[in-house]
Amino acid sequence: MNKRMFISKLKKELKNYKKIDSEEIIYYYDEMIQDALDEGQNENDFIKSLGSIDSIIGNIIKDGDFIKEVKSANNNSLINIVSTTVRVISLLCYYFALFIIGIIYISIVIAGFSVVAQAGIYLAVDNLDTMGQIALGAVMLVGLGIGLIGLALIKHLLNNTQSIRLYIIRKTKQLFSKQRSQ
């Protein structure tokens, strides 16, 4: 693998990790490889010695302190500059929004699985012809799909609570600064 391939692969993989400062890491490896090449090292050998992209990203994630520090640094920089009012209001908005979105997602899950249950009961209790059974089977699958979509949405929500919170704080702050300037 040459440098260009390595960097583009790294870039692609890092896209999956929003919490990592990918720009900086790419920069770091780009410089590292270039320095190695300038020192007369073999491009392929050096890139091989860097290890797999997975292990590179793994090392960054494994360094728990690092992630925690980056997280708190992001939080602090934003939270320190906003006033208490903004913070309280945005926090209330945050929990309210989380509550509403959470309830919507949970109801999707419940709706999906109750369709499965309902269709299952019909299938078991009623004496249906083959066509009816197939139709109910299809309905069950649709219900299962809806339920799984709901579960995925909940998981996504839980993964993104942090960014939602920062987004709301930012928006509230913008709202306040706009009012003040008017």
């Binding site: 770091y28 490896y29 410089e31 590292m32 320095d35 300038d38 290890g51 292990s55 090392n59």
Partner: protein, 100 residues
């Protein structure tokens, strides 16, 4: 070597490698790897951490018509190194105790 033990020491090794002159990623690895094993992917979080803790300062300079990031130790970093030498005296005493 025990990972936990090594982790703490690596931070100090990186600080020590820039004690006398500013350095950059590739060179830091070259300097340290003569003494202990360190990979490029381990160095990155360490540099990042030292920067966050304000023990080192960074700046960019042009080299061969490309930008290179340099790391410079600051007063707090030097303090930390000095402190570590005192710590080592204690570790030495502990080691003697363990070894007896």
């Amino acid at each position: 070597m025990d990972i936990q033990l090594k982790k703490g020491l690596l931070d100090l090794m990186v600080l020590a490698s820039i004690k006398y002159e500013d350095s950059y990623g590739y060179k830091i690895i070259q300097d340290i790897s003569t003494i202990m094993d360190i990979s490029e992917s381990t160095l990155y979080p360490i540099l990042k951490r030292l920067e966050k803790q304000k023990l080192v300062k960074t700046y960019n300079t042009t080299y061969n018509s490309r930008i290179r990031k340099y790391y410079q130790i600051n007063q707090d970093g030097l303090e930390k190194l000095k402190q570590s030498i005192d710590d080592f005296d204690e570790i030495k005493r502990m080691y003697t105790f363990i070894k007896r």
